[in-house]
Amino acid sequence: MNNDELQTDSIRSKYTDKQPHSGLYRLNIIHLYPDLLNLYGDRGNIQCMRMRCKWRGIDANVIECSLDDHPELAVADIVLLGGGSDREQQIVCTRLQKIRRDLRDYVEDGGSLLAICGGYQLLGHYYDTADGRMEGLSLVDLYTEQGSPRLISNIVLRNESLPDFLPCEIVGFENHGGRTYIGSNKPFGKVLYGHGNNGKDACEGVLYRNVIGTYLHGPLLPKNPHVCDLLLQRALYRKYGVSLTDFPALDDSLEREANRAVVTRFHSPLAP
């Protein structure tokens, strides 16, 4: 090899060695039922949180909770509830009812919860399908009904209402049969491109306390580092009273580029 561009000692060099605060801060991230709810690269969300903690010297302790485990929500700082197929969701749904009260206490206490797709639907009162009603957790005042066709698309959102959000669009991929109605709750974002909650009201997802519910896969966090940082920020503040800005800033040029690529391709602000 004589090409300078390719002459790296190792393909692992650039991203390692960034742990200034090692050992001081530790976040417990509970991943609920990854053995069932792991559709569409959702574990990328865990990987994103894990690495963005690591690069700042924050210790990310990921606890994978399987169906037989009892999640210790009292020590949780961030909880991730992913999506699964309808069949898998039904299995989870029954199990979740047993920890419903713990989850509600966690949410009402300001705990961070990210619920994706099927997990998002489970936050509400119910999901009505052709095969009957799936009872939800009633953590957030919303409900879902099965619709046709499936809403499948790249999706671009904008959220200007959150103060700690960077002024940046949220991008992802949606693939859901359910139509979700969030009543008077705030949406996660306004739909610039794609379908959103129900294809009608131009809203996507829900925000309630420190809960984010959304249909966005992609997975959500890697191409939306500002959303990842929002979760980390809230968790750090709740646990230690510190702000993410106390930590060294990360180089997010690649993340931003991947985000912009989706925005400009599917929603050009210059388009009529």
Partner: protein
């Protein structure tokens, strides 16, 4: 032959000529033209097949299995109709049949106008072939099987694939279930190591033959598995061991659903320097098989072909000979020798879903010589618009001392680079696959791996083929 079928065949032939003139393979468009005129053109042409129709379904391994089967049958002197280029939806199957049919005018001349009128029955479509071997897309299978009555259906295995097109894998299962019901008389030849496929077969009333690997071969890798839970009752499956993804030796402790008795069982599997194993079949002596291929998944592809040949009572005496000369086509582990005296080796492989990508990485890491890697990810309709599956691939395994560099390209290059960043692996970007290949070869790379998803395959293949000439 019905006039409609005649016209449809003529239209397909004309479309094929037009495709060839414009430099395209014409694997689909002629079928579309034919179907416009005769929506059921497949049925009369399929009725002319003399000895058997074999279809191959499953998310991974269709093209290699189908092409290998064609080569085996041709080596025995049979005439075979197939969709070797991998055009596996309704149009592709129609194109395979219609473009292989005799020219309508030739047919008229052969029979004479009077003969044509008298001979209203046979041959229906005037297709001169002993076998039809067709790979069929899972979502198209039910529709194709309305017109095509196969004798055998090979099910290679079911993995998470293009979720935006098929929805969840449950929907792929339902589509296949429907297709299987369309042809109640066919025999299913299944990958018994896959609980999803085994469940499909168990739930049907069809005759089932299975192939598999009952001994542990390689260390399992922790990756996304589709069927951790029993399809039958929902309880967690117990595994003695995994081969890869959800393939392995499994049983349900709750309802008793289990891996079927394996009819064609591979043992003594060696993956390098090339594949070799013995196939045991009840009541016969083991057969030694060796193939100049790598990758565990190819054991299944070979086993599937072996099983169907044995089931049809066809000779397998030339099996190893055909394997030796079998050239994987169209980027299914296809090797190119380029540069001065062909001293630079380039391996092109399709990697379109997590299971396929994982297997590609395993095969690549078995090659312990230094290498450079190009990954191209597109998100056109055929690729699947949703690229979130990239996060279901264990890319951390690429942090291996034999991999000198990784270059990323394609419509979703930023996504791919970001994916690598989150396992702390650096990569370069190239505007397209051609310049990526050029750059690495100019830098003296002697061992280059190019892993691409569907629509990038044609571009990469054409370019490498051109370089080799």
């Amino acid at each position: 032959m019905r006039l409609r079928t005649l016209l449809a065949v003529a239209a397909a032939k004309a479309a094929l000529t037009a495709c060839h003139l414009s430099g395209r393979p014409g694997s689909s468009l002629p079928g579309r033209a034919a179907l416009k005129i005769d929506p059921h053109i497949i049925a009369p042409l399929a009725a002319d097949i003399r000895r058997g129709i074999i279809v191959t379904c499953g998310t991974n391994g269709k093209t290699t299995t189908n092409n290998l089967l064609c080569s085996m049958l041709e080596a025995q002197g049979y005439r075979v109709v197939s969709n070797r280029l991998g055009a596996n939806m309704l149009e592709g199957v129609a194109a395979a049949f219609a473009t292989s049919a005799k020219r309508p005018l030739g047919y008229l001349f052969a029979k004479g106008p009077l003969g044509y009128l008298v001979d209203a029955k046979r041959p229906l479509g005037y297709l001169d072939a002993d076998f039809a071997c067709l790979e069929i897309d899972e979502a198209s299978a039910a529709r194709v099987l309305q017109d095509l009555r196969p004798d055998y259906m090979i099910l290679t295995g079911l993995f998470r694939d293009q979720l935006d097109r098929y929805g969840e894998i449950d929907l792929t299962m339902k589509a296949l279930e429907k297709a299987i019901l369309e042809a109640p008389e066919m025999t299913l030849i299944i990958n018994g190591d896959d609980p999803l496929t085994a469940y499909l077969a168990k739930n049907s009333a069809h005759r089932v033959v299975s192939f598999g690997v009952s001994e542990r071969v390689a260390n399992e890798v922790d990756e996304i598995r589709e069927a951790r839970f029993c399809e039958n009752c929902g309880a967690p499956l117990r595994y003695d061991f995994y081969h890869f993804s959800q393939l392995g030796v499994y049983r349900c402790p709750s309802c008793g659903f289990c891996r079927p008795e394996i009819d064609y069982d591979a043992s003594g599997v060696r993956l390098s320097p090339q594949l070799s194993f013995d196939v045991k079949e009840p009541g016969t002596a083991p057969v030694k098989i060796s193939a100049p291929m790598t990758g565990f998944y190819n054991v299944y592809n070979i086993l599937a072909v072996f099983s169907v040949l044995r089931q049809m009572n066809l000779p397998t005496d030339k099996f190893n000979e055909v394997l030796r000369s079998f050239r994987p086509q169209f980027g299914r582990g296809e090797v190119f020798h380029v540069g001065a005296n062909g001293g630079q080796r380039v391996l092109l492989n399709l990697a379109k879903n997590p299971a396929g990508f994982g297997q590609n990485i395993s095969a690549m890491l078995q090659d312990r010589s230094p290498k450079d890697l190009i990954i191209v990810i597109n998100d056109n309709a055929q690729d699947g618009r949703d690229v979130s599956w990239l996060w279901d691939v264990d890319f951390d395994r690429l942090a291996d001392e034999t991999i000198r560099s990784i270059t990323v390209s394609g419509l979703r290059a930023p996504d791919m680079q970001l994916r690598l960043k989150y396992v702390e692996i650096e990569s370069d970007r190239a505007p397209d696959v051609e310049s990526a290949i050029d750059r690495l070869l100019a830098a003296g790379c002697e061992n280059l791996y190019v892993l691409v998803n569907y629509t990038a395959l044609y571009e990469a293949h054409r370019y490498l083929e051109g370089m080799q000439k």
